[in-house]
Symmetry: C2
DNA sequence: TCACTGCTTGGGATCGATCCCAAGCAGTCT
DNA sequence: AGACTGCTTGGGATCGATCCCAAGCAGTGA
């Protein structure tokens, strides 16, 4: 499991507690009861007389007592849940999707009285070397590689459970965590049916997007998806394609172009759309983009080419994040309820931790079409 | 301190440890030594015979033992440091500055063997009400208000110390935390001299920016700063103004416009620049922006008005974050070493926690001019 | 040989909470 | 009156590590 000598823990010898915090023992003494009774009051156990309960409560207030979460965790097991985002730190925060997801998970955790810690990928020195090797083979890598080591989440017993965001290269992380006994919920597509997951109905979303374009008169559709390695991106495109093909006989609509971006990013969308316009003899009249950011790039490329939105080309995004509203024209998009998904993930994880749920459950949230100015 | 009944802790009764983790006692038994000796090996205590140390190390590897951080913390005090960002969750992650700062602190913490937890502001129901009151007075508030309650960091004894990011409305938080006995380091301008802080030399950075514009021939400068309530934003502007005034007699350069944005944001920069162009009879020939994002907005407004950069108007930003490189033309900017500042903050906090540093120290990092295409 | 020193090692107490078991007590039923 | 039930309450053990103290042991010098 480990190679070198054990890292020396930092001994904390300094003045760590200038004014000693009150303990439950202090509360008990002041209220004239035992530690047990004080603990019972703290935990709302019913079998305490009202008068005694009042005395203890008063004593707690007088001493401004706050329970020591560390000591409590030692006895009852960890309380903190961890949101694991297996991506390099610098990429996560700039991404509107992850920003929203993090906020949702933190808020949902707080609502259930759970502290949420956030763990991102580490710089991986070994990976850094192999990245250089990859470079030699001609693959593009701008820096060291990153991964999230499972033992950062399992060792130490700090965490009661983990929420893992699915992305490219999950690499069996959820299964490993599960095997180590840590309850896990994946947001997105799990690579393993044995773990719990929450997601949105990406395929249906793709179908709604394509359906809306066809219904508003588009006949030559281009699908510009997110990373092909990303299961959500694939599902969205599959839904769109199936929807178009189902309507072909009645409407004559068809998919005339289909490509995947490297990232869910503005620049990727712009490049892909320029390629599309260059490759096709006639421009498509409707674009299903894999994300709002890609759609924003598409809008940029389309207007740059002198075409009008939505008159010449209609564009539809996915996510309904801030870019959808700030882009000009504003984006019609398939809204995914990120806050709801985050809340589901937290609720499911807490249920797992408390033994109220079984592994392997999947919960899928509905998506919603939001019509704005980029389609007619 | 508290009003209602104590919130009931979530009892974790479920199957929390399906496969029991090895404890130090197990290691000791397997190696044929006492818990004390095993602990000494774990902590690299010198007085253990090499042969015994080897046996214990082997036993640890065999059992894939990992120390329980919760139990360890109970005895030695908390190990985790917390990065407190007194801002609403949804605003933090979209901001390139905070993204970079978070990444830097997390990485620096890891390098020192410290886990970093991140705590953002809570939705504050009371604040939500007062925000509505403010709305009635005509101030703009789009949602509930947020604040970071100090007791979230101090109570529970989960954290060894806190790094607090300075922003608008710090509201005495660092002083309160300090008073509660929690070691604190502020990133930015502390509102209290008694707490430690790390920062960059904002005033010098502002001077460098203005100096560069004057040196490259600008004579009519506009200063478009960040939020006036933000001390860093004020310092940058002050430095720029002093620099220009110092050179006025020899060069004839002057500040012809001066304003503060509400946020360090692209939209704020765009609006401010449009205002500037509308208000001034003659456009300025040099812009000192309070951040790269503001500068990006300025570029947008300037090119939108049909002026060329840098021929007609030179623009200089602050931060050297990703917008500086992706904006067209690329931005000349004052680079602030965020990673270095983050590392300083972590190092100083760990020193405080271990009793190796005194409160009240301030450490200022140098900034650096990076010349790109937005100035000539 | 004895005392002294210094290096290793083990055992018990401790951190602050929870949990289990049993004791105390009042009320009820036979 | 005695047994039984159910509600309160207190004490001890426990979680898994660290820390302190003292014991064991070998080596040194007188």
């Amino acid at each position: 499991m480990r190679a070198g000598p054990w890292p020396r823990p930092r001994s904390v010898t300094g003045p760590n507690t200038p004014a000693r915090r009150a303990t439950l023992k202090d509360v008990a003494r002041r209220a004239g009861v035992s530690r047990s009774t004080a603990s019972r009051v703290l935990n709302d156990h019913p079998s305490v007389r009202a008068e005694v309960r009042q005395r203890v409560t008063t004593a707690m207030a007088d001493l401004s007592y706050a329970p020591d979460e560390v000591a409590r965790s030692l006895r009852t097991g960890a309380n903190v849940i961890v949101l694991a985002i297996p991506r390099p730190p610098r990429n996560v925060f700039a991404d509107a999707y992850f920003s929203s997801l993090v906020a949702g998970v933190v808020e949902a955790g707080a609502a259930l009285g759970r502290t949420v810690a956030i763990v991102l990928s580490d710089v991986d020195p070994a990976g850094a070397n192999s990245a250089r090797v990859d470079d030699a083979r001609g693959r593009e890598h701008s820096g060291p590689s990153f991964r999230l080591r499972p033992d950062r989440l399992t060792s130490g017993g700090l965490f009661a459970g983990a929420i893992v965001t699915a992305s490219v290269g999950l690499d069996g992380l959820p299964a490993q965590l599960s095997a180590a006994g840590l309850p896990v919920v994946v947001i997105g597509d799990p690579d393993d049916d044995a773990v719990c997951s929450v997601d949105v109905d990406n395929e249906r979303g793709g179908a709604m997007a394509a359906g809306h374009l066809v219904a508003t008169g588009c006949r030559r559709l281009a699908l510009l998806g997110g990373p092909e390695a990303n299961a959500s991106a694939r599902s969205r495109q599959r839904g769109a394609r199936i929807e178009v093909e189902a309507s072909t006989t009645t409407t004559g609509a068809e998919v005339v172009w289909h490509a995947h971006a490297d990232e869910f990013e503005v620049a990727a969308g712009r490049d892909l759309m320029r390629e599309c316009l260059a490759d096709l003899p006639t421009a498509p009249d409707g674009i299903v983009a894999g994300s709002d950011a890609i759609a924003a790039g598409v809008v940029d490329a389309v207007t740059g080419a002198g075409l009008r939105i939505p008159q010449d080309v209609a564009v539809i995004g996915f996510d309904d994040l801030s870019p959808a509203r700030t882009t000009r024209p504003s984006l019609t998009t398939v809204a995914q309820p990120i806050t709801e998904v985050a809340a589901h993930a937290v609720a499911r994880l807490v249920a797992l931790v408390e033994g109220r749920a079984q592994p392997g459950l999947r919960q899928v949230s509905k998506v919603d079409l939001v019509v704005r100015d980029s389609t007619s």
